[in-house]
Symmetry: D5
Subunit: 97 residues, 10 copies
Amino acid sequence: MDFLVRVDASRAYGLPEDERIALIERERERGLELMAENVIRHFWRVPGTHANVGIWSAPDADTLEEALTSLPIHPYADIEVTALATHPMSRMREAAA
Amino acid sequence: MDFLVRVDASRAYGLPEDERIALIERERERGLELMAENVIRHFWRVPGTHANVGIWSAPDADTLEEALTSLPIHPYADIEVTALATHPMSRMREAAA
Amino acid sequence: MDFLVRVDASRAYGLPEDERIALIERERERGLELMAENVIRHFWRVPGTHANVGIWSAPDADTLEEALTSLPIHPYADIEVTALATHPMSRMREAAA
Amino acid sequence: MDFLVRVDASRAYGLPEDERIALIERERERGLELMAENVIRHFWRVPGTHANVGIWSAPDADTLEEALTSLPIHPYADIEVTALATHPMSRMREAAA
Amino acid sequence: MDFLVRVDASRAYGLPEDERIALIERERERGLELMAENVIRHFWRVPGTHANVGIWSAPDADTLEEALTSLPIHPYADIEVTALATHPMSRMREAAA
Amino acid sequence: MDFLVRVDASRAYGLPEDERIALIERERERGLELMAENVIRHFWRVPGTHANVGIWSAPDADTLEEALTSLPIHPYADIEVTALATHPMSRMREAAA
Amino acid sequence: MDFLVRVDASRAYGLPEDERIALIERERERGLELMAENVIRHFWRVPGTHANVGIWSAPDADTLEEALTSLPIHPYADIEVTALATHPMSRMREAAA
Amino acid sequence: MDFLVRVDASRAYGLPEDERIALIERERERGLELMAENVIRHFWRVPGTHANVGIWSAPDADTLEEALTSLPIHPYADIEVTALATHPMSRMREAAA
Amino acid sequence: MDFLVRVDASRAYGLPEDERIALIERERERGLELMAENVIRHFWRVPGTHANVGIWSAPDADTLEEALTSLPIHPYADIEVTALATHPMSRMREAAA
Amino acid sequence: MDFLVRVDASRAYGLPEDERIALIERERERGLELMAENVIRHFWRVPGTHANVGIWSAPDADTLEEALTSLPIHPYADIEVTALATHPMSRMREAAA
């Protein structure tokens, strides 16, 4: 099941700089793991902001929650999750393909 | 998987009265079916409004989408869906029970 | 009487980590008591956030207020309460059952 | 139990004038009944708007819902309900009195 | 003249605990005085929040402002004021009584 | 007592053109009367919008409500009223003058 | 360049039913063409709503505008476009791959 | 003096199609005149929407209001105007140039 | 040219008390100067808040910006500016006078 | 490709004054470089606020992101980016010119 996930890390910019840099490094390591596990399938930065937008895939909300709380940035993040359903057009396209 | 679903049917009140009454009747029939199938597990009216709030259960968003689009009120409804994850406290309670 | 209650504890993440962990521990103890007393009847985590959504049951708002202010997290929480009325469909279902 | 209730009837101003005037007349009759039954305890007009603000009293949300749906304006109204708890200062005042 | 006044004291919860407790004590003393002077005519707690909702009465906004700025919590409070007009139904009820 | 009043007449632009023009003409006549009575003390158009912003003066909200409901545009208007208190600086200026 | 595009077609549900069904059919034909041209790269339905969320790809906003205004639903749609930048983590992942 | 002006013409899409097309034609004629007079200095379409964003220049708000109300689309438009001041950096750049 | 200006100084209440009192004193001195120069033509306090609402007059936004940034409170203030155009009714009134 | 960019630096006003002044100086140096490179094509201050509004030009969102993250103020800024498409009227004007 797919989820549109927006993670805003603005609050982390209230941390002392060295702490924040170390946090972002750990965050990237964990993010790359989630990408390798295909939990994060698509990932972008919203230009100019401290937020990313991604398409996350998980069998259900519990598994998604585990992935999100595993992010080092989680305590400082404001996260919005939108559940996504398959669109009829995507089905039609797959059927045609 | 559980979803918090708010269905606001205010726009249906723009229909001619007889049409609206017939629509609400068909809506209740379908709603009772969904309750019987345990898709709608809990269901309330937000006092004074034309909105209900419910806990819907479906394996994933696709199945939820099917249930929601099967509602006769769907064309006139403004629906908000929030995916819900199991809370650690609920797990602790079940383990204790 | 049922209430839809959303408790957002983001502000607690401004506390020193050890203080926050101890606070959450006490919060869970109190939460489990409220579950045992059937004041908290259903409880979920909104994935990725520091918020939970629950169905709380209390004879009236005064009793609900007592339960909510008894939460250790209360000084740091942003809480939204929506009063819930029984939906006609739930009555129809009970009558049919 | 007290509720702060805001009823906005702007949508009724989309009705033909004669229909609207008749509707408001029936609305006032019903409102006076609810005042007589002490369901509506305090009632004001928000200046310049088509909205009123009132303190409604009902044992629970179900009874409040019955009162609100009995309003002729209900199909055209946008209603917001806030549950109210007794404030500690009100208790202190009563105790002192 | 009546005013609907919502006072949110969430920001006071950023103060050291002992300071906050002393502040709330002084706040209650001042509040009881305003109740005794019938400036605060009705007063409730919004369940779960650090906010109260009240019906304040003052000849005009200047007098209301004096009362509100006399609250010890004022520097930490977010206050919303809605002017209230007498509703035609209240006049009809008084005339009938 | 002064009030900041914003009157948005966008909804009147849903009327047939001739009806709307006649309505605006009657609205201007009434507005000029209220200006002559010093109820409307200052009046501006928010550029590009169908809204005006004004400083209205009335002894209390009831009198303001009478003035506002006397506007021909009232059934089609969305009106926001903010009560205004005298600012300490205005008092200092008057004292100095 | 990628864009997150949300298309809400609620307003189309004000059309007569047959007109709306024909419109949605033409909309799907056009949508499948855009998918075939890889302009629409990912596409989902937001469960319960009349809105879809998609990842659209276009060299610039002008080309995106052409694609969006070519949608038969465009006159009745409320569309939100968010420009997306490549995330550093996606670059790191591609470099590692 | 510069103004950031957003003109949203969504409401014009409620008109019969032929009326709307004629309106947009007249709107473009008037717009080109305003461009020629350097009242509209920069002009863009917000992709996917029925809104444009522009930098308008006028000696004051009265002159801007005249230009905006001269737009044929004005009765159906929702317009937001933000006054703009010269930025210190623009002054520094001009001084350097 | 007139501007509706709302200045909210809530953030200044995060300063140590003595610093804040000194700041407000300097703010009042500067405010009285601006009143004397007829830059601030009307000035009110929004009851209960740390905000004022005023009618400021300046030939253009640049001059207004200078006046606003000259306020000692400016670093801690959230300021909203609405450009105001002369209303046709005000012109009609002046012509009649 | 053009972007409407709003940069709000209010959070930087939480820094110690000397740090903030040094930061703004570096910010202006970088800003002038971006102006010289025609990345920032137009730039204004929103009067009274700590925000600027500008028209930025970049081949795509990635290049824009690089420019925005190069701003010294970036860690303390809240930035909104709106992609802009060429308006048909601008094309008509260029064709006519």
